[in-house]
């Protein structure tokens, strides 16, 4: 019940295209859903996060869509750029607990020039 399932494992998108990464969770107690971006040799860095009281959150070219009934959330990267090439992790946690992040397995995104 603690798992967060992420797909696809890897993704190649042309410059200017839309990158879409999906995650699904089982634990309905989760109430915080961040996306982290990780470049090789670096630690994960928070990209954008959402709470389940909204269905969408947008920050610049990055949008999280959240479907509470389906227990799914996704990251959309509009106008993808080569600099977006990185590994993206979705995660989940809940405020009622110790707020440990449960991560998905990650998606390696390559944006071709």
């Amino acid at each position: 019940q603690q798992q967060v399932k992420q797909s696809p494992q890897s993704l190649i998108v042309q410059k200017g295209g839309i990158s879409i990464i999906n995650c699904a969770y089982e634990n309905t107690a989760f109430d915080y859903f961040p996306w982290y971006q990780q470049f090789p040799g670096k630690g994960p860095a928070l990209l954008i996060a959402i709470r389940p009281d909204v269905s969408e959150k947008k920050e610049g070219r990055f949008t999280i869509s959240f479907n509470k009934s389906a227990k799914q959330f996704s990251l959309h990267i509009m106008d993808s750029q080569p600099g977006d090439s990185a590994t993206y992790f979705c995660a989940a946690s809940y405020t009622s607990g110790y707020s440990t992040l449960t991560f998905g397995k990650g998606t390696m995104l390559l944006v071709s020039p």
Binding site: K42, P44, T95, S96, Y98, S99, T100, L101, G106
Partner: protein
């Protein structure tokens, strides 16, 4: 911008040896974490630490592991007798508020790559 720092960036050790990984969390943060990432796999939670004691630990965090905040700034992870399977990137993270409070951003350090031979 404040950041979490970790030392060393790389550590090579022999199986059975003790290692200490060091972290300096962001100065006004109260809640600290260690995660690890085996090469090519997802980030996994090890332990969280608040108010000078362990808040939560995972199954990975067995008796070979310990954490300490020896002074007001450092946060350490000790592995007493390293095994080959301990080879991984270890990340320290911190956040501003404590457990059971509205989630705040966890800031991750750059990691220590541990290689056990």
């Amino acid at each position: 911008e404040p950041e979490v720092t970790q030392t060393p960036s790389h550590q090579v050790t022999q199986m059975g040896q003790e290692v200490i990984l060091r972290c300096v969390p962001i100065s006004n943060h109260l809640y600290f974490y260690w995660y690890r990432q085996i090469l090519g796999q997802k980030v996994e939670f090890l332990v969280s630490f608040y108010n000078n004691e362990i808040s939560e630990k995972s199954e990975i965090f067995d008796d070979q592991f310990s954490v300490e905040r020896p002074d007001g700034s450092n946060f350490t992870l000790k592995i007493r007798s390293t095994k080959l399977e301990d080879s991984a990137m270890y990340f320290c993270a911190s956040r501003e508020n404590g457990p059971f409070q509205p989630q705040e951003t966890q800031y991750f350090g750059p990691g220590t790559r541990l290689l056990v031979l």
